[in-house]
Every structure is written in C-alpha cells, then in structure tokens.
Symmetry: C3
Subunit: 473 residues, 3 copies
C-alpha cells in the first residue's frame, strides 16, 4: 500500500512510478559533481580527522535544524551552539543531552527536507534504519559515536565512497587556501577546488571592512590604498584562486541592483568606506558597481560568476549579537531582476564565453523575470532552487515554473550548497529522484518522449552542472 523507500519521492501513479524508476536507475550511480557548497576543506587535509560527537557532526553545523528547535522555544545554548562572548564551548552542555532534546522534538521536522536528508543519511551512510525518537535516542547516539571512530568514516574515505568527482568549497577572497594547498601536496587524488567569494572586501557595509582590506593587502602583496590598487589586488586574488583550481566566483547581495560608477565615483566611495564613513546608498551603489567589475573580470579570466540574491542576513538582532552569523535567522526578501540587472546585461549579457549563474529566494521571479532573462541572454544561467527551496516542492515548483520558458539548457543542474558533509549523497539523491519523477510526468502527458527524458535526466543529474562550471577538462 504505502510507498517503499526504494520508490521514495516518486508519484504514486503506477505508470509514472515505473517510468521514474527507469529514469532514476540511469543516474543514481553517476558521480557527484559538487559545484557549490560550504564544506570545510580542513577536514579533507588530514588523514586522521576528529569529527567530535554526533552532535558536532549533525546538529551544531546545521542551522536548518537548530532554527526549527529555536522556533519552538529551545534556546541555542541548550543545543551547544557556541556563543561569541564565551569564546566558543564554555559551559557546553552534555552532547548526549542535546541529542536527546533533538530526538524528543524530532516530530517538528515532519514534512521538512531536513527530516528526509537526515533519515536517508543515517540509513545509507551510518546504517541506522530506525526512525529517531525519544526512546531510541541514546542507542542511536552510541551507534553514531562508534561509526565516527571507524576509519571508514574518515572524510576522505567518505569522499571516495560517495563517488564525488569534484568538490568546490567557498572561500574568502583573503583566504590563503592553505588547506587546498595541503590537500594538493598530500598526494591524495580527490579533486577539491576553491571558489572565490569576495563579499567581505566588496560589501563596504560589512563589519570590519577596513581590516578586511588590510588583510587583502597582506595576502595580495599589493598595498590597497586606492580604488585602482583595490581592483589590482582583487585581480591578483582571482589569478591565485584560478591557479589553485577555482573555476568560479560567488557573490551575495541583498538585491540584484547593478550600476556602473565612473572610476572617480568609485574612488570617492571607496575612500569613504576605508574611513568607515559610508551611507546605505553608498553601500548599495558600490556593491552594484562591483558586480559589474566582477563580471568584467570574469570575461577576462573565464571564472564563472555566481550571484546569490535576496537574503536579509542576521534578521534576529539578539541572536546575531550573541552567536554571530549563519544562525538560521536569514530571511528572504522580495527581489527584482528585470530592472536591476539591466546595466549588467547591457554591458556583458551578450558575452558568449561569460557565465553568470543567478540564485534567488523569491520564487515569484522564476517565471516572471528569471526564466525570460536566462531564456534570452547568452551570458545568463539560472542556478537550482536555493536554501529553503532545495526541497521536494521547491524543486518541483522550480521545474514547473522555469523550464517552459527558459528551457532546461539555460539551467545549471544541481548543487548541494551544504556544510553538512555526510548529507551530500542524500541531497543529490533527492534531486535525482525529483528530476526523474518530474520527467516521468512529462512523458506520460506527451510533452516529451522517453528518449528525450533519458538524456535530460543525465543532464539534470550530472552534465549541466559540469558544463556550466567549466569542469569538463
């Protein structure tokens, strides 16, 4: 009667399920191309990495999980989330108790992607088949703890077992990439590449902007005192990242606003920023201008440009003050692309060799603005559903709203975008199943034929991401 886990995420219609199965079979064992994510490269340096406890592994790095517990009145302190003031783990609660709290409240996650990722991860990676609950919490904790000390569960062993073809990390522009260097020199064959993320030296309203620029001077060996030296330093960093294997950059902005400033205007605002004397308007214009500059550099150096638009970061002031960033309090805002991207597209939209991949958190823009834009401009591609929308319904809405206008080939496949390393296979698997099921529905309604569907499912699972991120060679 009910769906077996082998057929999970497929339609209950027998005809659709049968086609979905056959499409999924085609892709389920393809290598994972992890083109965008937040895995810590440090864990892949050492051949003897210490995961800490199951809570260190599964709860503390996962803001999807602790934000939900917080929303129901559980304080972050109770969950062992390190606060800023205390310098980290002071007065850390017993992780066994934290795990018990999580399991006692696991019903909160019913119907959420977190519950699916963790269920599939526990079963497929750690061999734990039981549904977690209050009664079995400690038993599962024991089982996890044992596994984490097992050499098979070392990050590099997982990398190989997961069949990861390439893993891109996301790294500050000022990062020395010493972990990446160390991985390279270790002789290990896993392909781990950096991604150039300059937000902290580009968004002039970032905390400690002047210090970040000092750091930029140091790592680039260019004394950044003016707008031209600033641009030179950024170009130096991009060259370095590219030498270290990067094929892409990544840029976050609350809005997609772009504007070209004259060099004089840019210099004036930059100088104000160094002195910490900027207005909100300055920040908006400078960020908008730097998106143009980064596109110009991408035309020159070939790095794929990722834009992540629409998150109001650190919305909960008290949480930000005590715990810092990335604490599950980033909330989307409505976005506009048609007008905001016009200055960028007028300059670089027709550059055939440029690839700008846009991500956003306002699903209304899929069919209204983004699909028409990527369905026209050669330089523009649409990234997969991001963040809250990296879910079964989110993925379905993405396909349904985007493909009719943009076509599949102006999208860029999947990226897992996660710091939860052992959840990577579960995330790709959910995408692959959702893709197969969606295609099966199209076959049955006579929109595409099975021949097309069999090509498309491989494109969605593997090829599109690899092509878009220039990982072919």
């Amino acid at each position: 009667m009910t769906q077996s886990l082998e057929d999970r995420f497929f339609s209950s219609d027998p005809a659709q399920r049968q086609i979905a199965r056959s499409l999924y079979k085609r892709v389920k064992d393809l290598p994972l191309v992890c083109v965008h994510g937040h895995v810590n490269p440090a864990m892949l340096c050492a051949s003897n990495y210490d995961w800490g406890t199951p809570v260190d592994l599964l709860i503390i790095p996962d803001h999807y999980i602790f934000r939900m517990l917080y929303s129901q009145g559980i304080m972050l302190e109770e969950l062992g989330i390190p606060s800023k003031e205390k310098g980290g783990h002071l007065a850390t609660p017993d992780h066994r108790k934290v795990w018990q709290i999580v399991c006692d409240h696991w019903y909160l996650f019913r119907g959420t992607p977190s519950s699916l990722w963790l269920r599939d991860e526990l079963r497929d990676i750690f061999g734990i088949e039981e549904k977690i609950n209050s009664a079995n919490a400690q038993k599962i904790y024991d089982a996890l703890e044992a596994k984490l000390h097992n050499p098979e569960f070392q990050p590099r062993q997982m990398f190989e077992r997961f069949h990861i073809e390439v893993l891109a990390t996301t790294d500050a522009a000022t990062d020395t990439l010493h972990y990446h260097e160390s991985i390279r020199q270790s002789g290990w064959h896993g392909r781990v590449i950096p991604t150039f993320r300059p937000d902290m030296v580009v968004n002039i309203d970032a905390e400690h902007f002047a210090e970040n620029i000092q750091r930029l001077s140091q790592v680039s060996n260019i004394d950044v005192t003016s707008y031209p030296s600033y641009i030179a330093a950024l170009e130096q960093r991009r060259r370095f990242f590219k030498e270290m294997g990067a094929t892409a950059t990544d840029h976050a902005a609350m809005t997609a606003y772009t504007e070209h400033l004259s060099e004089r205007e840019a210099e004036i605002i930059f100088q104000r920023a160094l002195k910490g004397q900027i207005s909100t308007e300055d920040a908006r214009r400078f960020t908008g201008h730097m998106l143009l500059e980064m596109a110009r550099m991408s035309v020159e150096d070939g790095l794929v440009m990722q834009l992540h638009i629409g998150s109001y970061r650190d919305h909960n002031s008290a949480i930000y003050e005590h715990f810092g960033r990335d604490m599950g309090a980033d909330i989307p805002v409505a976005s506009e692309f048609t007008r905001n991207l016009k200055p960028l597209l007028d300059r670089f939209g027709r550059e055939d060799d440029l690839t700008i991949v846009v991500f956003n958190l306002d699903e209304t823009t899929y069919s209204r603005e983004l699909a028409p834009l990527v369905g026209h401009y050669p330089a523009l591609r649409l990234g997969p559903p991001w963040w809250f929308f990296d879910s079964l319904n989110g993925i379905r809405r993405f396909f349904d709203n985007v493909v009719e206008t943009a076509g599949l080939y102006n999208t860029t496949g999947f990226n897992d975008d996660t710091r939860a390393y052992p959840s990577i296979p579960a995330r790709h698997d959910l995408w692959r199943r959702a893709s197969a099921d969606w295609l099966a529905g199209m076959v049955l309604r006579g929109i595409i034929d099975e021949e097309d569907a069999h090509e498309m499912v491989v494109d969605m699972a593997y090829r599109l991401a690899k092509q878009a991120y220039k990982l072919e060679s």
Copy 2:
C-alpha cells in the same frame, strides 16, 4: 467512475484515496474548535431566535455570494442587501424572487468554495440533496423556510449538533459584551468567548475615530484625553475581555509595518488624531506603533495576538458610500513582512510565552517570508489560509509552500472565520478532508510514514488550534 460525495476532495488515485479515507475517518467527528470567526453572539442568547427568510440566512450576510452576482451585473438592491441611506430594509425585494435570482445564476459559482460550502451545508444540515437550479429554486426555498421554523434549527441546537467545543466571536474593543454576559447567565453550557478587536480605536484614520474614543472612555470608565489614559483604557478593556473568557486579540492592518514611537511622539500624533488632523503618514506610524504596544500588552496578559494583514478595504467607493463596509469589495494588496515586522520581532520575537498569529492575503509571502520567519522566531505562528485562500487550492498551496520550511508545528490549524453560522461544519470538513488528502500524498511519496500522518491529521483538525489559542484549560 466519478467521485462519490463520501470521497469528495480526495485525490482520484486509488492508493492515495484509501489512505486519505483512513486519515479522514480519524478526525471527521472530532469537536469543532472555532478560534476565529464573526458569528453574531446575539443568536446564541435567545432560546427562540428568528432566522428570518432563507435569504436572510444564506445570502444577505454572505459577501462571497453577492459580490459574484454583482460582478455579473446584478445590483445589490435586487438581492435585498440593505443600503445605508434607506436605513436598512426599505423597499426590500421579495425574498422568494431574490432566491430565484440566486438560483438562476448559481452556475457562476462552479468551482468556487462558496458552491461547495453551500452544497454541503444544504445536504448535511438541511437535508437538501438536489443541486440548486432555476427549476427547483422555489421548492428548495419552501424546504429551507420550513426547517428554519423547526426548533431543531435553533442556533443552540445547531451548536450542539455541530459538536462545537468553543466558538470565539470577534468584538469591538468598546463592546460591552452583553450578549456574552447573557449567554453565560442563561445557564446554557455552550462555550462562546469574545475576541478583543481594537481596530476602530487604534487605526486613527478610521471613520468617527474621536467618537470611538469617547465610547472607549465610557465603557472603560477612564477619561481618555491623553496617550497614557488611552493606553490605560485599552488595558482595562483587555482585562475585561479576558475576564469574559477571551484568549485572543485581533488586529487588521493594510500593511505589516511596525515602528516604536517614543511616548512623546505617540502623544503628539494621538492628540492630532483626536482633532481629526492626521496625515496618512501619522496613521501608518501610529498603527505600526500600536502593534508593538499590543504585543507588549500580550506579553503581560497572555492574550494571543492575531494579525490580519493585506486587505485594501472598501475598494469600490460607490458601494462603500451606499452600502457600507464588508460588501465584497475588499481587495488584497502585495505584502512585506521581513522588513516590516523586524521592529516588532526585535522587541518581542523571542518571548516564548507570546503567540502572534499572522494571517495574510499575499500567498507569495508564504514560502518567501512567513515560513522562514515562523520557522525561526519563538513568538511567531502562521495562521491558516485566509479569506479568498480558504479553498481547496488555497489550502493545498498553503501546505505545499509552508510546511517544508516552517514545519507543521509553527502553524495553527484551522479557523472558519465566518459569519455564515450553518456553514461552519462544511468549512471544517473541507479543511479536514484537504488535510487528510495532502498527508496521504506525503505518505505515498515516502516523505512521512502513516504513524506520523495519523498524529498530524489530528493536530491539523483539532490540537494545533486549541494549543495556539490557549484553549487547553
């Protein structure tokens, strides 16, 4: 071949229908928790209430119905809607003729929730199984008229037959609640509780604001001449409502804008308002400030705070002028929550004992703003789909867009929000069937298991509303 009415609103997929049936069976006879609505308490005072004609019962109070007829060129006067000038029922048309007009045009409602509610209400409450049409209009009128004179169809008898556990009305802050008092003293055991709705004394651009404040002075026994006395009077009314059984307040605003004013600023605007000298900006800021004040009072007195955001009231000027408010001419506008609610949430969002239930008419905010917000802030919950969205598709979109990010447990179950008293069971039934069917789909796709679904369906039908509105005791 076609769906029997017993299985109405369920998927046609046999596997899904079977699970939906079993889930629905679990909840179909649970008591009705009517936490928010607009039933007139007067009808529950008397043991001998006069319903008037079938048109008085079913058409005149139902702006969903007469707005649709109006949209197709039938004047409100033809339908017996009382106009303001004429002091009500002057020159009322023959209600039999009105009923005939309604039945002649009933095809207009094909596919609308109004048609489902009325169909189910006529069948289940009044025993009328025929589909209404021009030919049987008078026969159905006769049948309804006969029932309305039958003691079994008295409001209290219906209350008991409907299995209503609690019914919350919505009452002006200046209401003396004498009907509620009278129900209490009558010895009848039905639980009917008021809800504190202060819009007319808070929205300073309301018609007759100064008179409303005079009325507030009278009922509170506090001479409201200043901002502090105004606040004291509001607090007095809240205490009184709470004594009369209220567990919640309700606030309507066109936008979710919130702002904290200093006491001095609040006083200045309040004095201007008493003199009728406010600007649009004054009204916006004062309403935004009072939402903060009301949240502060809720922290103190424990009343649940409901926010209904996003309706442009009385859009049709001529209809408003001749017929007044609530005439089917309220039209939604786009809403923004992420920025607008920040001042409120920075102050009170972490209050664990506070419950703010948000309702809105802009479905795009479900996944983009509201689900992320209620999935983070302890004080925030999301109310069920409101008004135009209290429909089969509206409910499905709500679940599909909200639960993945917010979880089910940051939502608040159902409320019927109606003044159409005999339609209450049909409305809850539609919600319960839609919930069961949605859960069945999730079971079949391996997202939740049947054990979870059986708990969730009870939560959705009964528990969540009761908990959110603090009706447990």
Copy 3:
C-alpha cells in the same frame, strides 16, 4: 505504457483521462474564435500568397524560437533575422542552413510550448510525423517547401480547414485597414476583423510620437494640434475601426497606473509631447489618463477594451538597436492592480455594458489582485494566460489560481495571440485539452459534476471568448 498522442496533455490517471477524453471530444471540433492575435491581414488578401521558405514561415516571425537559440549563443544574423541597418535581407544566410541550425539545436526546446506547438503543427497541418533532428532536417525542409507551394496551403484554404469562425488582427490606430477592406471586397466569406491599437499615438514616450500624430491627422482628416482635436481624431479612428468590423481595442502599458487629468493638465502634457519635451512622469501620467479616456470612449461606442500590462519592452539595448522591436527581449516586471486600477474602476467599474479585459505577466496577481477584482467589478474580466504563460503549466496555474475566487464566468476563454498563423489550431487544441483535463480533475474530486463540466468545457473553448468580445451577432 507511455501516453499516446491522442491523449496528449491529459493526466496519466486512468479515471481522469477517461473523463478528460469525453470532455475534449465535446469541443475538439468546435470552430476557432480568434479574438486576439497578430496575424498579418495581407496574407488573407491575396488568393495567391507567397509564404517564402519554411524558415520564413516558421522561424523568422517566431521570437519564442529565435530568442532561445540566441540564449545559447546563436546570433540572430545566423538565423536570417533581418536587421534594421541592412534594410532587411541583405546578406541573408541560406535558409536551408538556418533550418539545419534550428534542428541541430531543437533539444533546447524540450519541455517548452514552442516544441509542442511546432510538433503538433507539423503533424496535423503538414503531415510530418517525425521528431525533428539533425539527421532529418533537410528531408523535412523539402517536405515543407513542397507543401507551401501547394494551393491547399494557401492562407484562405487554411482558414477554412482550421474552421476559423472569426479572426481579429491587431492594427495601429493610424492604419488605413486597406487589407481588411480588400478582404471584404474580394467576396471571400472569411470573417477577419481589425482591433484598434492606439499605443503609438497614446504612449507619448514612443519613438517618433510627433510623426505618429501627423499620421493620425492625415488618416482622420482632423488636424491634431490640441488635446481636444487629438481626442476627436481618436474617436474618428474608433468609429472607422468599428465600421470595419472591430469589436475591441487593445492597449499595452508597462504598469496598470491610471489617473484622471483635468483637460488643462492633459493639454499641457500633450503639447510638451508634440515638442518631444516630456519627462518620464509626464509619460506615465498621460498613459494613465488615456486609459481612462479610452474606457470612457468604450462606454460610448461599445468596443471591448483590452489591457496588456507588465512587459518591459526591448530590454536588450543592442538587439533593439540592430534589429528593432519584438525580438524576444521583452521581459516581464512585477505588476500592481489594486491601487493602480482604482481611479479607472471608480469611474467605470460599475458600467455593466463596458468590458475591460486585463492580461498580465505577473502570475502572483492572479489570486491576489485580479481574481478578487474581476470577481467584484461588473466591467472587469480577466483574459487568458498571456505570452510566457500560454503553456500547459501556465494554463493550469491560471485555472487553479483564478477560478476559485473569480469564477469561470469572469474570465474570457482563450486567445491564441500569435503571428504564427499555421500554429493557431495547435494552440487552441492545447488549451482545449488542458481545459478538459483540469475539469476532469475537478469532477473526480467532487468539486463539480459531469453535467457542469460538459457545459464549462464548451464555455472555455468557445462561448466565453465569443461573448466577451461581443461576437455573438
């Protein structure tokens, strides 16, 4: 296993498919009522029309197709799209090579409506059953070329074979309608009527506005030197269009902004416009005012008023400069109707004999603004999904989001809105199938019964459009 083409676009659920089939059978052979579109009337003048090559027929006029190829790096020049500078076809590529490029890249259209329309058109009109690909490109070209020289494929023969009852073209206010006149005088019985589209003489920021006004003076025989003479000239043109069979007007605007200007204000702005000295604000206000004026004229002359809102035209500056308008670079923007249309609706919304049909490109407004508005105002109707949304998912979203609130009878059926003449039957067929399938789903879920569905499917396919556009006589 997979869907046969006879059942294309229907659900895979056997019960739903069976009902859908029976509903579709009812409407598949009904005449086509083509109430809005862009067919060139010239082709229906001659009894010996030269289609040119298959590329002239299928690719060059279809911006849906060449924008997608352009988005993947194929230049418009390569596709034979005539540029402005070169005065058209200079250096036109070999159309056989263009066709080969199109077929080589046909995979780009997988899942798009373009692929469905072309597939069905090739099969049903031209008898080509093969899926197009690189290998069979030239063979298909040959087959198409042969057909185009066959008298059976003359436009008038197609008109009759397509069973077109009426075809409305869209024509500039300054058009002399000589093609329409010529069709009338030819003795051919096909009903081809013009539509009055005054954008070029109303949107004062249009290129060459003053010249357009000169042309208006010429064709109207009214010397347009002032606002009153301008209005008189427009009224003259409307009378002329009506005499030539027009039943409707059509107005495009980026936003739905409406405002009533005094005659004095209108005159001042109009004079500035003649001198080419307007501001953006002038243009916005004048367009908003002229929408009111056009509604006033419609009340007087009975022409149905169509509003197409929300397209940012000619977004790609370089493409506009080299190739001109309608080059696949029109991108939607977010729209607002509740506030913007209020001035118009306050004046004319209650006019029972007036019909304003709104089209838009922001699907979020369907359920939030447009369905509530058309579900209330007698003068307002909602047009079918437009442009990017005239697709299977777009149509389903339209029905799901609109009908619950607006009812079906405040919508206006289908229009094909195309300049791709031979694709007309495929477009109507897709709509009819989508309607039948949607109704079948409603029957199975007990929302409507089969009796209702059988009436509704005819309304959707035929009656609603005919009634809304006053084509009954």
